[in-house]
Symmetry: C2
Subunit: 172 residues, 2 copies
């Protein structure tokens, strides 16, 4: 692995946290990173909900069976898309734009001594409606994914899952 790309390889899915809470500047820097992502025709259809207190994280943990560690993490960011603002009001572009922003959050975390883990929401209807109800999201706002964040309780080594069988040269 090329060491110059260490900032890519050190993004790992962190599921163990110290319990220390994120500070406001953490969220500011992570969201500056999120909104540096590209979006289709620069429509920037993303919307972000910061979750920065223990009771709210505990409630979210009850709704997302894939995120029991929300109870020990230091905060979370819910990434949503506004279907009315997405290019051509397309769900495909909305998903792509929001995912690029979410990936930027995950990649920014290690530089701030944080770790993160992507918790999938879309397309699971039960998670979408539960999150929609908890945060009173309007009908045009689609929750795509949630990023658990915090100070890692243990380090994971950089890695890639590079697989030559997935690479094709100039034709299939």
């Amino acid at each position: 692995m090329n060491e110059k790309l260490d900032y890519i390889f050190r993004r790992r899915s962190i599921r163990n946290y110290t319990g220390e809470m994120l500070r406001p500047e953490h969220f500011e820097h992570l969201l500056q990173a999120a909104m540096a992502a590209p979006s289709a025709r620069c429509c920037d259809p993303w919307e972000f909900v910061i979750i920065d207190n223990r009771p709210a994280l505990d409630r979210l943990a009850q709704l997302l069976p894939n995120g029991p560690f929300l109870k020990e993490c230091g905060g979370a960011i819910l990434v949503c898309g506004d279907l009315k603002k997405a290019y051509q009001e397309s769900l495909s572009y909305l998903l792509q734009d929001c995912t690029a922003a979410l990936q930027n959050i995950l990649l920014a975390a290690p530089a701030l001594d944080l770790g993160g883990c992507w918790l999938g929401i879309h397309p699971r209807e039960e998670r979408i409606s539960a999150v929609r109800e908890l945060f009173t999201l309007p009908a045009n706002i689609i929750p795509v994914g949630c990023c658990a964040l915090g100070f890692p309780a243990a380090e994971l080594p950089p890695r890639t899952r590079y697989d030559l069988t997935k690479i094709h040269n100039n034709h299939w």
Copy 2:
């Protein structure tokens, strides 16, 4: 902008290239970065087509009206997803997983002195079918987006499109 996150902010959409071609190790490093992205349940449904010669780039430029600069770039990577391998054979997860990989390619490029530009394909049917025909993609392989790559003819300054109106605290 936090300088520690410069590797995020320096990703800009590059549409002017010197014409110099990428070398094989560029593609290797970019694809190591791509496959370091997370994917739903680690299904890694992504597939990549390297386009590394001028005639193939010229043919692709004819199909993608959003990418006239493919004629001057130094290579491209087509990012596709295998619907049979995506978690729950879900198009939503496929789009999210492939986008995370594509975003990693774009973020890795500057560290290799390259620039890139995301060329949208999905959900436009005419682009999907044109690209499917050019690369003889099987029916279960969905082209999501193409990344034009090359040596930038000019530098763009780091930036974010940070917008406070898109941030919500603990509720909508």
